[in-house]
Amino acid sequence: MHKFKIFQIIFLIIICFEFTDLNSVNAAKQVLSTGIVEERVKDLTTQIHWYKNLKEAEAVAKTQNKMIFWVQMLGDIDGGT
């Protein structure tokens, strides 16, 4: 009986940890399923060429008279982030 109560307390602590996660978004508005994510990432990385070298991007931008959209990110645009 005593062990059961300890188990109950531990379980409650675990539940409290989970639902007081301050670093999780508390009001997510839109969730995309895995299939849609894959499809959109594919569109993003095939319909747009993503340069990895800024100097190279600058040279192309000058010849095409365009601006540069340069993303600094944790991870890869076509892989894990």
Partner: protein, 301 residues
């Protein structure tokens, strides 16, 4: 960001038509934050504008590498598109041979600050700093530039202390700038700028009475950096707000975002315990070249 915003119109079409795109992995940069793992075959969740500023920054550059604008963190496609348009306007100014450098800088500052007023209410509402980022700002031992109402900030900060939300070090510092009769030491208020954008403030106050929304924060910080070469842009200071750990918790969700398993929950708990979230470095180092004194620096805590 890539699945929920970048690959969605109107931003996607604008990027395809008008920009040369590129990216770099910043995991070794000192200002890079932490995040949960997101694979291409995992789910994606949208979030609020400006969330996760340490993990992603989107620069709009002129062809010679001059910084026209920079968006820290996640931004909705329609809001990103408004900023792409502003960058296009600023690029025309930058390339105009009939304007002097000082004229260009002045226009840059005006356009950045005035653009805040053009933001639709939906953008302001979606730019509210999230709870964990607000808490990180409350912990700072000075009034950061992210605060719109210093008096309310101090009141709520001390309220947090009374509730043991924050550490003793902040308690001491907060006491140092609040007098015994609960009035605020005016010297502490010199750390904040006076905001002339009254109309915007009235709208913004409905969203967050204490802190500026992230759309205002980044435009103000951009206004302090007119036409800076990319390699001289102080990204670390620019993204300094909130925590450096951002995780939307997708790893705990199933394929449709609504599943929850005990196994994943336990894994999540250990990850959270092992990954404490230190404060972001203090925002500082801003130098206004055009004599504008909207901004002040703040010492690192």
């Amino acid at each position: 960001m890539r699945a929920v915003s970048l690959s969605v119109d109107p931003a996607f079409s604008d990027l395809k038509d008008n920009f040369i795109c590129g990216y770099t992995d910043i995991k070794h940069k000192w200002y890079c934050g932490k995040s949960g793992k997101h694979e291409v075959d995992s789910i994606a969740v949208d979030t609020s504008n400006g969330a996760g500023p340490h993990n992603i920054q989107m620069f709009m550059l002129s062809a010679d590498g001059t910084v026209l604008s920079c968006l820290p963190g996640y931004w909705r496609s329609q809001d990103l598109n408004l900023e792409l348009k502003l960058a296009s306007d600023l690029n025309k100014i930058w390339l105009d041979p009939n304007l002097s450098q000082s004229q260009k800088d002045k226009i840059f500052v005006q356009k950045q600050l005035n653009h805040i007023l053009d933001h639709p209410m939906s953008m302001i509402q979606n730019s509210r700093m999230q709870g964990f980022d607000r808490n990180a700002e409350f912990k700072k031992n000075y009034i950061p530039d992210t605060v719109s109402n210093p008096q309310l900030f101090l009141e709520q900060a001390t309220g947090h202390i009374n509730n043991n939300f924050h550490n003793a070090a902040f308690n001491n510092n907060a006491n140092a700038i609040i007098n015994t009769d609960n009035s605020v030491d005016s010297s502490s208020l010199r750390l904040t700028r006076l905001n002339p954008v009254t109309l915007y403030r009235q709208r913004q106050k409905q969203v967050d009475p204490v802190f500026k929304t992230t759309d205002e924060i980044f435009h103000e910080r951009m206004a302090a950096n007119p036409f800076i070469p990319f390699d001289q842009f102080d990204t670390g200071s620019f993204v300094s707000y909130g925590t450096d750990h951002y995780d939307k918790g997708e790893s705990k969700m199933g394929p449709n975002g609504n599943k929850f398993t005990a196994k994943k929950a336990v894994g999540g708990i250990f990850r959270q315990v092992l990954n404490q979230t230190p404060l972001a470095p203090a925002y500082s180092l801003y130098q206004f070249g055009s004599g504008n004194n909207h901004f002040v620096s703040a010492e690192s805590n």
